[in-house]
Symmetry: C2
Subunit: 142 residues, 2 copies
């Protein structure tokens, strides 16, 4: 799918010398089972999370897997990278990834919004730098 972007993808505030990538991800334990089966609710949460974090939603898709060990997956492609939620309702368990690029979007806002809505009893969160290395653009000639 070709997308003509109006907003530049990533590194918008960085003067073009690097891509600023920020990835916040966490595991949410002890989440209400009904919420974790609710495909529409989860989709709405991701759409709103993208909005509060100033991310530009390009596409969003959800899947429901039935049966034991089943659950819901939501993946949103945003101009700034992606947001995903995977759930395992039988385990009261969900994982969340919010990965943005560019100085204008804030993955923590999206992550915190999702936690606020899913209300886990407990969660852990990590941060990963997904930025490019300035000036390190050349490939090896092979």
């Amino acid at each position: 799918m070709a997308v003509q972007q109006n907003v530049k993808k990533g590194g918008r505030e960085a003067g073009g010398d690097l891509i600023v990538g920020k990835h916040v991800y966490g595991n949410l334990y002890g989440v209400d089972e009904e919420k974790l089966w609710d495909e529409e609710l989860l989709k709405d949460i991701v759409v709103e999370a993208a909005r509060v974090a100033n991310m530009n939603l390009v596409d969003i898709k959800t899947w429901k897997f039935t049966g034991f060990h089943g659950g819901v997956s939501v993946i949103a492609l945003v101009l700034e990278s992606h947001i995903s939620i995977h759930t395992w309702p039988d385990y009261g368990y969900a994982t969340v990834d919010v990965y943005t690029c560019g100085a204008n979007s804030d993955p923590w806002k999206a992550f915190n919004y999702i936690v606020l809505k899913l209300k886990p009893r407990y969660y852990i969160v990590h941060y990963a730098d997904r930025s490019s290395i300035p000036g390190y653009t050349e490939s090896e000639k092979r």
Copy 2:
């Protein structure tokens, strides 16, 4: 989208008492620009990566963002979670996430396959445990 699964999602070897989640992610620096613009190549690499890692591909989608700071995104939803590649060809830069659930799939195999194909000059890789906590399934009553 409803999916009737034949293979249980996640934790298949764990006796059902927890979800085993394994997330390998990395940043690839100094990758050939042409490869990073090649939507079909990147898609094929992800499909094959899923296969070598014993992951079950459910859906795959690609997007191309034109212009400065543009690039390609590939996101695959697998029964075991997801694989994503985001590229910024102007920077020779790509990021890769391989997130699997269940003891039968190996995210390292997929990650290493992608690195082998994209041939970065340099890359960093991290591992995150995305497993549930055994017995910690109840939500708070709110």
